[in-house]
Symmetry: C2
Subunit: 479 residues, 2 copies
C-alpha cells in the first residue's frame, strides 16, 4: 500500500473545513440539504461554508454566491451542483486549496447517455491535472462518526470498529440501518459511486491501515483495476477480516449495475474464487453481510462446530437441527448422564432432553432453566450455544423474567467459556414488536450476537467458521 495514497485520503475523513456547494436555500426538505443536516446534527467542529448562486443564509449560516467568494481556504467540498456544473466547480476549487471533492449528483456515466459519460471523463481528467481527489460522482460520500461527518442525520453518533466501502449509497444506508439495532457501530462508511478517481482499492488500502477499523465490509458492482484490487485485497486480508458482497453477478444484475454506477461486472464463480484466494469472506446478500458482521463482531471464535441448541418448541427443534447440520455444523446428542442430571429436576414428558433441548413447558421457571444451562455449558462435547425464543407467548409483564434469564444464561456461558448466540423470532404486529425490541436491546447491551432466524444464524456462523478454518489451513479442533 502506498502511504501517499492514504495521506491523500485523509482530508475526506478528517477535513479541517468543509464547503457544501449547491445546497438549496429555499426548501429545507430538498435532498441537497441531507449533508448540511448531517453535519449540523453531528456537530462537525471545523468551519462549514455554504455555496449557492442565490446567496442568502440557512439557519444563521451565510450562503456564498460563488465558491471563490469564500474568504478562507477550503479542505473538502461536498457538491450537489448539477452534473453539468461539476467540471467548473473543480476549476474553482483550484483557487481555494481544496484537497478533495465529493460529487453526490447523478447524471454521469450511469445514465448510459454519451453526455453523462463525457462529463465523467472530464471530471477524472481534471482530477489528474489538478491533483484534487474526486469521490464519486453519484454517491453519498463519507460517514465518519469520529470526525462528526455523516450523510444522514439519523445514523448513530457513536463510532465502532466496522468499516464499510459501498459503491451504492442506498446499500450503505441500508446496511447501517440493518445492523445498528443489532449493536454494530462503524469507524468509516464510504459510498463511492461511479469511482471516476478514487475507487474501491484506494478505500480498501486506507481502511486496512486505519487503526479504528477491525472488520471491513465491501459492496462493489464493478472494479476499476482488477489486478490492483486483487493485490490490495490479499494484503488487507492479512491484517483484517474482510467480507465482500458483489452486486451484478447475474446477467440482469450486471445490466442493473451498469445503469446504477456504470460498472462492468463479472460472474459469480470468478468472484467466489477471487475471495477464496484472497482469504476473505464472500456473501451474496445484504442480509448475509449483516449476519456475518454481527458474528465476526460479537461472537468469540468457538473451538469447533458443535452446538447445543436450547429453546422452546419440539417441532422447531427438529427443523433447526436440520438448518444447522445442513450447513456443516453439528448438533451432538445429549449424553445419557447429562440427560439424567437434568431429568432429576425436569419432567421428561414435553421436555425433550436431547439436543436441541426443548424447555417449552417450563420456561417460566428460570431457576430450572438456568440449572439446565449450567449443565449444558459445562458439557465437554459442545463448542458453542444457541439460545432461541419466541416472545409471542410471553406477556409484556413477563419481560423482567426474560431479562433475568438472559442475564443468567450469559453469566453461565461466559463462566464456561462457551460462546453464546441468540435467535429471536421477529413479528410484524406492533404489540409483539415492542417485546422483541426490548429483548434485543438487552442482548445488544451485553454485546451478544443476535439473529432473526435459525437459517441466518447457522449460515453466518458456518461462513465465519469456514473463514477461520481457511486461515488456519485446517478444520477447527473438535476435541
Amino acid at each position: 500500500m502506498s502511504h501517499g495514497s492514504n495521506a491523500s485520503l485523509q482530508p475526506l475523513f478528517y477535513p479541517s473545513s468543509i464547503a457544501l456547494a449547491g445546497v438549496t436555500v429555499g426548501n429545507p426538505e430538498h435532498w441537497t440539504r441531507t449533508f448540511l443536516d448531517g453535519l449540523l446534527e453531528f456537530q462537525f467542529e471545523g468551519p462549514l461554508y455554504l455555496v449557492n448562486p442565490r446567496g442568502g443564509e440557512i439557519g444563521g449560516i451565510k450562503v456564498y454566491r460563488r465558491f471563490t467568494d469564500i474568504p478562507q481556504d477550503v479542505d473538502y467540498v461536498i457538491s450537489t451542483v448539477p452534473a453539468k456544473a461539476a467540471p467548473g466547480l473543480i476549476e474553482e476549487c483550484t483557487h481555494k486549496g481544496v484537497k478533495a471533492v465529493h460529487f453526490c449528483t447523478a447524471g454521469f456515466s450511469e445514465t448510459g447517455e454519451q453526455e453523462g459519460a463525457r462529463l465523467e471523463a472530464q471530471l477524472a481528467d481534471l482530477s489528474r491535472k489538478t491533483g484534487i481527489r474526486v469521490l464519486g460522482p453519484n454517491c453519498m460520500g463519507i460517514y465518519c462518526p469520529e470526525s462528526r461527518m455523516s450523510f444522514n442525520a439519523d445514523f448513530p453518533k457513536e463510532g465502532g470498529t466496522v468499516g464499510f466501502i459501498s459503491q451504492s449509497g442506498g446499500n450503505a444506508g441500508d446496511l447501517i440501518n440493518r445492523v445498528m439495532s443489532r449493536g454494530i457501530r462503524f469507524s468509516k462508511v464510504i459510498s463511492y459511486g461511479n469511482a471516476c478517481d478514487l475507487n474501491e482499492s484506494d478505500f480498501l488500502e486506507y481502511l486496512a491501515a486505519d487503526p479504528q477499523t477491525e472488520i471491513i465490509g465491501l459492496y462493489v458492482e464493478g472494479i476499476k483495476d482488477g489486478r490492483r484490487f486483487r493485490q490490495t485485497l490479499r494484503r488487507a486480508a492479512k491484517k483484517k477480516d474482510i467480507i465482500l458482497l458483489k452486486g451484478g453477478t447475474t446477467e440482469g444484475g450486471a445490466r442493473a449495475a451498469a445503469g446504477h454506477t456504470g460498472a462492468l461486472a463479472g460472474s459469480e464463480v470468478i468472484w467466489d474464487s477471487l475471495c477464496k484466494h484472497a482469504g476473505i469472506m464472500h456473501v451474496h446478500s445484504l442480509e448475509e453481510l449483516a449476519d456475518s458482521l454481527v458474528t465476526l463482531r460479537f461472537m468469540p471464535t468457538p473451538r469447533g462446530r458443535r452446538v447445543a441448541l436450547i429453546g422452546a418448541g419440539g417441532g422447531s427443534s427438529v427443523l433447526i437441527t436440520d438448518e444447522f447440520e445442513r450447513r456443516g455444523l453439528r448438533v451432538p446428542p445429549l449424553p445419557r448422564e447429562l440427560r439424567d442430571l437434568i431429568g432429576e429436576f425436569t419432567p421428561l414428558a414435553g421436555n425433550i432432553l436431547r439436543n436441541p433441548i426443548d424447555y417449552s413447558q417450563n420456561w417460566k421457571e428460570p431457576e430450572k432453566l438456568l440449572r439446565t444451562v449450567r449443565i449444558i455449558s459445562q458439557w465437554e462435547e459442545i463448542d458453542f450455544i444457541i439460545w432461541f425464543l419466541d416472545l409471542a407467548w410471553a406477556e409484556l409483564s413477563e419481560m423482567d423474567l426474560i431479562h433475568e434469564i438472559v442475564n443468567g444464561i450469559l453469566t453461565q456461558s461466559r463462566a464456561a467459556s462457551k460462546p453464546i448466540a441468540i435467535v429471536v423470532r421477529t413479528h410484524i404486529s406492533p404489540e409483539q414488536a415492542k417485546k422483541v425490541y426490548s429483548f434485543i436491546q438487552q442482548c445488544v447491551s451485553f454485546e451478544l450476537p443476535i439473529y432473526y432466524s435459525f437459517a441466518s444464524a447457522a449460515n453466518a456462523i458456518n461462513l465465519v467458521l469456514s473463514h477461520h478454518e481457511r486461515r488456519l489451513g485446517k478444520p477447527l479442533s473438535e476435541a
Copy 2:
C-alpha cells in the same frame, strides 16, 4: 382412497359432541385448559362435556368425575389425561359410543423409554380392537374453523382454503401465526403427533377429498407406511396443490425427530425425488412453506418467468435483480421506447429507467409513479410485476399516500392482467412496525401476495412456477 377411511375421520372434524377428559379444574392457566378455551372462544355448537376425577364445575359447566358418568353418548374425546391413564380411557369410551379420541398428552414413544413405547403400542392395539380411532398421542389435534373447533383461542375464526397436516403441534401453530397476517386462512389443520393409529396418509386422503380444501401443506417427521404414503401423495397431487416440508433430513435432525414424535426419518435426496415423482412441491423450512402458500393462494399463475421490478433504491435494484435471476427468473431490460415514454415526465438522473425501475427520488408524486406503472403493465415482454418498498423513510402521515399508490398499482396491474406481488421491508423498531403493519393489512385486504424479502419472493415464485412447469411437462411460455 377408501371412502371408509374418510367417513371414520368425519367425527374428528365435525363431531356432534365433544368431551374433554382430564381438563384441570382449579387452575385456569393450566395447559389442559387450552382446548376448553379454544372451544368456548370459537363457540362450538354441540354439547360439551368436561371430565375430571375432582368434579366441580368450570365457568358454569358441570365437571363429571368419571367419563362413564356422562349421561349421553359422546362423539369425540379430547384427552389430557396422563399417559398411564390413556388405555383405561379408551376402555371407558367403548361404553359411550365414542368414535374417536385425541390424546394430547406426551410421555409415549417419543421419550425413548420402554414404558412410553409400551403404552403407545397398547393404544394402537385398543384402537384396532374397539374400532375407536385415535389421533396422537403427543399432539394438538384439530383446528377446523367451520365446525368451530380450535386448539388455540387466538387462531382466526374465519375459515379458508388451505389444509395443513402437521406431525408437530408447535409447527402447526407456528405456520398459522406466520401466515395469518399475510391473509392465509385454513379449512383444516391437523397436528397428529406420534400417529399410533391415524397417520399422515389418512389425513391426506381426507383433505384430498375435502371440498373446503384447495391447497395442502404437510409437515412430516416420519412415515408409518411408505408405500401407502407415496400412492396417497400421487393421487392427492392430481386434485390439489401440495407442499411438503420434511423434518429430520439430517443426522441430528433425525435424532431430534425420534425424540419429538418417535419418527424414523430419511435423507433429503430421497424426499426430493419422492416429491418430484409425486408432482408436489418440496420445501425446506417453515418460512419457505409460508411463502409458497402465499404464492399459491394469492398470485395468479403468470404466463412466464419475466418480471418487472418497480421500487425505490439503486443499490438494492442490482442486488434484487441478482436474487431473481439467480433463481431462474428473468429481469429483461426496459426497451428504449418505453424508457423514452417514461423519460418524458421523469428526469433520468437518480431514476434509473431500466428494469428494475428505481423511482426513489419521486415516489411522493403518485401520478408520475402510476403513469410509470401503467406503461410497465402494458409492456409485452414481462409476465408479472414486483413492487417493493421500504417504509422507513415514510412519515406515518404519509400512509394515506402509500395506500393511494397501492390502490392505483393494483388497478393497473389487473387491467393489464399482470399478476403483482409486493415486497415490503420489515423493521424491528415498534414505530416502523406500525407503518409496515398498516401497509400489510391493506395489501392483504386486496388479496395481494406479500413477502418480507426479495430472496423469499424470488424463491417462492420460482418454486411455484417450477411446480406448474412440472405439471405442464414444459416451461411456461415466454412469448
